[in-house]
């Protein structure tokens, strides 16, 4: 049975990419606590970090058809040597309120420079998609009872976020037009404002 996944297409994990619902060939192994079989099924699979570490040599030979998934308390640094070769890393959200995966994603993208597909799965709902996309996820696997097509609308919840993150590292204060730089009040109206903040002895 083909599952469906939401992917950001054309521009990866930047703000310019657009989300699409696509068929998904990847199979997650071991996420329900079941053991990962000795002989892996054919086709693309996503294995737990522990399996990857234990069977790395063997799995590397399957190259493009093996991804790794991380639990919230897994250290993404464990994949530092593999980010260039892994086509996919997935981050598990056992509960959507467990926000560790957001920092995990940000570290994978910004610290370890992972460029492949970064997928959120587990208890993922449409109200988290805007945040998930911002920290560098570019694929989102919703549980079967949640409609991915209806969820697409939530990517557009906010048009211009304030702070920088992975999809747009520049905070709004570095993206504003020149008009935004002079909002109101000339400096002369304030108490020599700028000088208050610069070095001065009092």
């Amino acid at each position: 049975m083909a599952e469906r996944v939401i992917r950001l297409v054309s521009e990866g994990f930047t703000r310019r990419s657009s989300p699409r619902v696509q068929d998904d060939g990847w199979r997650v192994l071991g996420a329900g606590g079941e053991p990962v079989p000795e002989t892996l099924p054919a086709g693309p699979v996503i294995v737990p970090l522990a399996t990857w570490i234990a069977r790395r040599g063997e799995l590397l030979r399957r190259a493009a058809t093996v991804g790794v998934w991380l639990e919230p308390d897994d250290d993404p640094g464990a994949l530092a040597a593999d980010v260039a070769t892994l086509p996919l890393i997935a981050v598990h959200f056992p509960k959507f309120t467990d926000g560790r995966g957001y920092s995990t994603a940000a570290l994978l993208r910004a610290r370890f420079l992972f460029k492949g597909e970064l997928r959120a799965f587990g208890d993922v709902g449409r109200d988290q998609l805007f945040y998930l996309r911002r920290v560098g996820f570019d694929a989102f696997s919703l549980p079967p009872q949640r409609d991915p097509v209806a969820a697409l609308a939530s990517f557009g919840d906010f048009s211009n976020p304030y702070q920088g993150s992975i999809d747009e590292p520049r905070p709004l204060f570095r993206r504003r037009g020149p008009a935004g730089l002079i909002a109101r009040a000339s400096p002369s109206a304030s108490c020599a404002l700028a000088s208050c903040w610069r070095a001065s002895r009092r």
Binding site: R100, F158, Y162, P171, R176, A189, A194, W197
Partner: protein, 556 residues
């Protein structure tokens, strides 16, 4: 004050649309209670004992008269004609209807207000000194930093689902009026030897069930790095804070478990890797935001002779000035506290009529702006000395001139068990009974400064840990009891109170407070304040006086 540009306006409108759709999906059965809960909390909506409670953000406590009128309008149209100002400088409505909350938020958005992140496990409303911008001892006005923090923390994608709530306070003066030692992150503006402005960063302070005074994690952080450093702290906390136990999930528990040295090492390592990010604040941005907080058009004023005459002639006015009026950086101007602590009214409650009235006063006397203090009063920050007498008379007519700032009857209290579903015990009747017992204004005045703070449960919304007298509601086998501590204090030498012994029934509380006060009156040296007497002698003599010969009425 800060005024929204089109980016800010768009963002709060988009939030209203998002929230309206979430409520629609919930009412249509597409979102479960569990799925909605974290979403509605991040919009300040609790489901309480009687009805939902909506907490509206008042960023760093600053309001315009227009905004206050809208708050009054909301109280009338959607609630029962009043609101409750909180110890975190916000306002709460206790009786809104769930279905109407999107409309309330839409009305707020029209006056540049919102309820974003006023609850939930995320970065909460930024708080600061209620005298920011006018205090004579100010190093720099902290409000621009507060606004920059507000924007940065609003919908921060990495930190929307933290282990627990996260509170940041900023103080810009020598004296600490923002309780920076009792926040998850406290930022205290300082100057280094070269005269540059920076921040002393404190982490891991807090009240709640495990009260802890914050640790200094960095003695001097250039202000340009305020956001990058906060991000480093939050990332370490987000990844490593406990999520298995609600009561051990605050950052203070992580700091305690790792030790401040190890925690600091991890934060510094994280910061080292990220500190040159685009989140470094450019000087132009600080100037852009700070321009919104430029001084109003003050006049150069000489001392007012009329004012001096009123002070000499009118004892009640003089007393009010002594308690509720404070100095200002500009001569001829004062800051005025309008007390929301009238006897018989729950602390921090204001009716729609009072709000409209204060909005008028702000326009007439204080450039159309006001502040909410963490002591749950309203403050007019820029009042001409010559206007004080007229202002006093007007405030008196609406019950807003109780001359009790800093005194025993200026009680801080959470809404407690009458409203809050977290509470173990009621706090408002205790506050009312104590105010009634001490209804002799002259006596209360002679007692001098005493902070009495009441919380209905361990969450400590009434800041009982830092009350000179702290009262905590506890549940014992389903009945309500009150634990009393003394010796807590706020400010630069913040301290946590010590419990004096077994807890008391509600009816005993006025007697208990009276005995503490009697003990103090008997023991004090000359002009010694209550807190100083406690510090000098410890709790023993107070304990002896309270428990003395009737130990049998107290319960363990």
């Amino acid at each position: 004050m800060y005024r929204y540009d089109h980016y800010d306006k768009t963002l709060v409108r988009e939030r209203v649309a998002q929230y309206r759709d979430q409520i629609r999906r919930y009412l249509a059965g597409e979102l479960t209670d569990d799925e909605l809960r974290p979403l509605r909390l991040q919009n300040g909506l609790y489901i309480q004992r009687h009805a939902p409670m909506l907490r509206v953000a008042i960023p760093y406590g600053l309001l315009s008269s227009t905004q206050l009128r809208t708050l009054a309008h909301i109280a009338r149209k959607y609630d029962r004609g009043y609101g409750h100002f909180t110890t975190r400088q916000n306002i709460q409505y206790n009786w809104p209807k769930l279905e109407e909350t999107p409309d309330i938020l839409a009305e707020l958005a029209e006056v540049e207000m919102h309820a974003i992140q006023t609850s939930g496990n995320c970065i909460r409303n930024i708080t600061t000194d209620h005298f920011a911008g006018v205090a004579p001892d100010e190093i720099v006005d902290p409000r621009a930093l507060c606004e920059i923090l507000r924007q940065w923390s609003t919908f921060h994608p990495e930190f929307a689902f933290l282990p627990r709530k996260f509170k940041i306070a900023v103080n810009g003066s020598v004296e600490d009026r923002a309780a920076v030692l009792l926040h998850d992150i406290g930022l205290h503006v300082v100057r280094n030897d070269a005269g540059e402005v920076g921040l002393r960063v404190m982490v891991g302070g807090g009240m709640g069930r495990t009260p802890i005074i914050g640790h200094v994690i960095r003695a001097f952080l250039p202000w340009q790095h305020m956001l990058t450093y906060c991000e480093a702290i939050l990332r370490v906390y987000n990844l490593h804070g406990r999520r298995d136990n609600l009561y051990k999930a605050r950052i203070k528990i992580l700091v305690k478990a790792l030790g401040i040295e190890e925690f600091a090492r991890q934060v510094e390592a994280e910061w080292e890797a990220t500190k040159d990010s685009p989140s470094v604040i450019p000087e132009g941005e600080l100037e852009r935001v700070a321009a919104h907080f430029a001084d109003p058009p003050y006049k150069s004023l000489a001392a007012d002779l009329g004012h001096a005459r009123h002070l000499a002639d009118n004892r009640a006015f003089a007393r009010w000035v002594e308690r509720n009026v404070r100095g200002h950086k500009r001569s001829g101007y004062s800051t005025v506290t309008l007390s929301l602590k009238q006897s018989g009214v729950p602390p921090g409650d204001a009716t729609a009529e009072q709000m409209d009235f204060v909005a008028d006063l702000a326009e007439r006397y204080s450039f159309g702006e006001l502040r909410v203090s963490h002591e749950q009063n309203l403050i007019l920050a820029d009042v001409r000395e010559a206007h004080l007498f007229a202002l006093w008379q007007a405030a008196k007519s609406q019950g807003l001139a109780t001359p009790n700032v800093g005194l025993l009857t200026n009680i801080i209290a959470c809404p407690g068990g009458d409203f809050c579903s977290l509470a173990n015990a009621k706090s408002l009747p205790i506050s009312a009974a104590i105010q009634q017992r001490f209804d002799d204004a002259d006596y209360v005045h002679d007692l001098g400064e005493i902070d009495l703070n009441i919380s209905g449960c361990m969450n400590s919304c009434g800041h009982h840990h830092i009350g000179h007298i702290g009262i905590l509601g506890v549940d014992k086998n389903g009945s309500e009891w009150y634990q009393v501590s003394i010796g807590g204090r706020q400010g630069c030498s913040a301290a946590l109170g010590q419990v004096i012994g077994p807890s008391f029934a509600a009816a005993e509380m006025p007697d208990v407070v009276e005995k503490l006060i009697d003990a103090y009156v008997g023991l004090r040296h000359d002009d010694e304040l209550f807190i100083d007497t406690v510090q000098r002698l410890g709790i023993a003599p107070f304990k002896a006086r309270v428990y003395g010969d009737n130990r049998e009425v107290a319960h363990g």
